[in-house]
């Protein structure tokens, strides 16, 4: 009996000692950023940013580099990701990746089949920003340091989220959104484009951390528009916000509205809701976008009396017209210049008018260009900060 017990214990200890997949924290290095560029000799060039955790903690920081960027070339990202130990010392894990940057060149040539790896790999999760590096090489994006969050990938991730929260210049797309748009018959993907302001060569040094105005800074640049798996162009950050408005993804923004000659009022928009109604009328898609927003006044340069309901109504109207003008202009621009349905109108028609969508499905790009889009805006101005009249109204 005792012998049997012993044998069982030994056998169980073999089975229970842990799986083959255990990896101690001291044996791994965490990759937080990936950058893909076109290779010189082979298909891709992958740069991975690994963090130096002791430098990110202010107590243990010793003034060394916060992260290490290493670059190698090969034909698939999947292979390169496992080949990082050409330079890196520890086992690189990708589960905490925060930023994925691809170069403009790769996107223009439509070499984005590596997205499959990102989707298929069990370690990589869909919580990283996916970006285009505009005008600079993507590994430069990873290399530029930043005083507050030393590593570039972490900085970008926080920066873009803050942007989404307060102004809305980042389309807030994740891998899943991109892939859904790529595979959908009535939608095209977008990504945020980032760039480096300053000299990227000087940005990859600790000296950059010591400047009040850093030598180089990674900035959010514009919105990259795709069509049929290829990058076809960019629209400005203002258009990005209008895009978010049309997509019902805008959470908050500040808007300058003209209220007189060279005079503006600033409205903080919050609680914005957008509904899209889509149907085909005689073969032409008709999209009705209705935007419902709440707002409060943040600044006034005009001298209207803000204690009067009349003024509120006037400003409301001005804001509505401004939003309508902006959103319609962006839609028109994308329709005419790019002809790429980034707003997902096709998907709306697919959802709401399936039978008619089937007829134009194969020619949706053409239909999108013809689409008649009506924008209806309703702004509810709620309050005006902690002052009533502007100081301007009592001008001597």
């Amino acid at each position: 009996m005792n012998k049997l017990f012993l044998i069982c214990t030994l056998l169980l200890s073999v089975l229970l000692s842990g799986c083959w997949d255990q990896r101690e924290l001291s044996d791994v290095s965490v990759a937080i950023g990936m950058a893909v560029d076109k290779g010189e000799k082979e298909k891709y060039r992958l740069s991975v940013e690994g963090i130096n955790a002791t430098e990110l903690n202010s107590k243990t920081a010793g003034g060394f580099t916060p992260s290490v960027v290493f670059t190698i070339e090969g034909d698939t990202i999947a292979e390169l990701a496992q080949k990082m130990n050409v330079g890196a010392s520890k086992h690189v894990i990708y589960s905490h990746m925060r930023t994925f940057v691809m170069s403009e060149e790769i996107a223009r040539e439509g070499l984005i089949s590596f997205l499959d790896y990102l989707e298929r790999n069990r370690e990589i999760r869909d919580d990283f920003n996916i970006l285009i590096s505009r005008g600079v090489s993507p590994d430069d994006i990873l290399k530029v340091t930043y005083p507050l969050q030393k590593s570039s990938s972490l900085k970008l991730h926080t920066q873009l989220q803050s942007m989404v929260d307060v102004w809305g210049g980042d389309p807030n797309v994740r891998l899943n959104d991109v892939i859904q748009a790529l595979t959908s018959p009535g939608k095209q993907p977008v990504m945020a484009a980032v760039s480096v302001r300053g000299n990227p060569k000087k940005g990859g040094s600790l000296d950059n951390l010591k400047m009040v105005t850093p030598n180089a800074m990674v900035v959010l640049d514009s919105l990259a528009i795709f069509k049929n798996y290829k990058l076809i162009g960019y629209v400005s950050l203002d258009d990005t916000r209008n895009y978010l408005w049309a997509e019902d993804k805008l959470s908050r923004t500040a808007l300058s509205v003209p209220c007189g000659k060279d005079k503006f009022l600033a409205a903080q928009i919050y609680n914005s809701k957008t509904r899209k109604k889509a149907k085909m009328v005689r073969g032409i898609p008709v999209i009705n976008i209705s935007i419902n927003s709440e707002a409060y006044i943040d600044a006034v340069q005009c001298s209207d009396d803000l204690t009067q309901v009349k003024t509120y109504e006037k400003y409301q109207k001005l804001a509505e017209e401004e939003i309508k003008r902006k959103v319609s202009a962006t839609i028109k621009k994308v329709q005419q210049k790019y002809g790429s349905d980034i707003f997902g109108f096709g998907e709306d028609v697919y959802h709401q008018d399936y039978r008619n969508f089937k007829k134009v499905q194969n020619n949706w790009d053409k239909s999108f260009k013809e689409a008649i889009v009506h924008v209806y805006v309703k702004v509810q101005l709620r309050r005006s900060g902690i002052r009533t009249k502007s100081m301007l109204s009592n001008k001597k």
Binding site: L15, W20, D21, D126, D127, N176, S184, H351, Y354
Partner: protein, 367 residues
């Protein structure tokens, strides 16, 4: 010689729920019907209730007898032994397929470096241990863990909704292609898997103590399981979109991986894996138990003698049953329904049912 094991109604209910969730929730069902997968599941739930009613009725014609004894009653012991042998092979085969489902899940999504043989073997040994202790223990295990299943399922649902990832617009257009693809999915896929697999319960119904309510409970169990499948299907399509669901090997897992609430509640794969593991455990166990009961009938020996060898065989065949994942899925979706499910789930039981009715009517006349 063979003692009678009893299970209560609550245990039957939880067994049924876990059994139906089993591998169905792992690999995702009804996705052939595109966006209307949930409608397909809804319709097939009625079919499922009908199927469980049929199997239960078959059992209740001859109270206290299980599938093998019913076959004997109809065809005599000699033919019954042959037929039982086929059923034993069928049940053990499905059991190893179910274990393989779990092995694939672990090997491709959780622990890729661990050999699938080890996972199959440990899992089968666990099943062997529980079965050795008897049906009552399987039933109690499932009874104890089912509240956790509901809890985790609810948590996953709440997290997904809180996360804002469920977009119900994605299930539109409803019935865009009409009812035909849906019905086709119901009758060619869902009728066999998971509902037709309830055939193995014809071995278990005879152990339920409370005969009066067992039918009602069985139907409620099927309804609850269908509801869970339906909700999971809506969550999957609403979160990933049908295209992604169809491209996912384990759609529920992919769905749950999306959860990230406040950068705090995230990486909750374990909840989904628990739901799947419990389902697989109960389903594999019940199929194995059905097979062992058949051996008990054939050899007239208590099934406990066969537990260890058969479960090791199940572990072995769960590895050998297919060389790769595509082979596994293709076999499961194309070959098995036609060549195994159809005869074993519907043809033979249907035939036996007719013979039972005929024999009983004849017997009544003689009296």
């Amino acid at each position: 010689m063979m003692e009678k094991e009893n299970i209560s109604l609550a245990q039957l209910l939880t067994l049924l729920i876990n059994f139906l969730l089993g591998s169905a929730i792992v690999v995702g069902v009804g996705t052939d019907a595109q966006n209307d997968a949930w409608i397909a599941i809804m319709i097939s739930s009625f079919l499922g209730i009908g199927i469980v009613f049929f199997f239960h009725y078959l059992n209740s014609r001859l109270p206290g007898k299980n599938l093998y004894q019913i076959i004997e009653f109809c065809l005599g012991r000699k033919i019954a032994i042959v037929l039982s042998f086929f059923y034993v092979v069928y049940f053990c085969y499905i059991s190893s397929r179910v274990v393989r489902d779990f092995g694939e899940l672990i090997a491709s999504a959780i622990m890729p470096n661990t050999p699938i043989e080890i996972i199959s073997l440990t899992f089968s040994l666990l099943m062997a241990y529980v079965i050795y202790l008897g049906l009552e223990v399987i039933a109690r295990t499932s009874e104890i863990f089912t509240p956790y299943l509901f809890g985790f399922f609810l948590l996953v649902t709440i997290f997904l909704i809180m996360n804002g990832s469920v977009n119900l617009e994605r299930i539109q257009p409803i019935l865009g292609e009409g009812l035909m693809p849906v019905m086709k999915t119901v009758f060619t896929k869902l009728a066999f898997f998971p509902y037709g697999e309830l055939i193995v319960f014809t071995v278990i119904f005879s152990n339920v103590t409370n005969k009066k309510y067992s039918l009602r409970i069985a139907m409620i169990g099927v309804a609850i399981a269908s509801l869970l499948l339906l909700v999971s299907s809506v969550l999957m399509i609403g979160t990933l979109g049908i295209d992604s669901v169809q491209r996912s090997n384990f759609p529920l897992l992919s769905t749950v991986r999306n959860v990230s609430i406040g950068k705090f509640i995230e990486r909750i794969d374990a909840l989904a894996v628990f739901i799947m593991m419990l389902g697989i455990f109960v389903k594999g166990n019940i199929f194995l138990f059905g097979g062992l009961k058949g051996l008990e009938y054939i050899f007239n020996l208590p099934f406990r003698y066969f537990v260890l060898p058969i479960s090791v065989l199940v572990a072995l065949f769960s590895v050998l049953v297919s060389i790769d994942f595509a082979d596994h899925i293709q076999e499961g979706l194309q070959m098995v329904p036609l060549y195994l499910h159809l005869p074993f789930q519907f043809c033979i039981p249907g035939l036996i049912f007719l013979i039972v009715i005929w024999k009983q009517r004849k017997g009544n006349k003689v009296k």
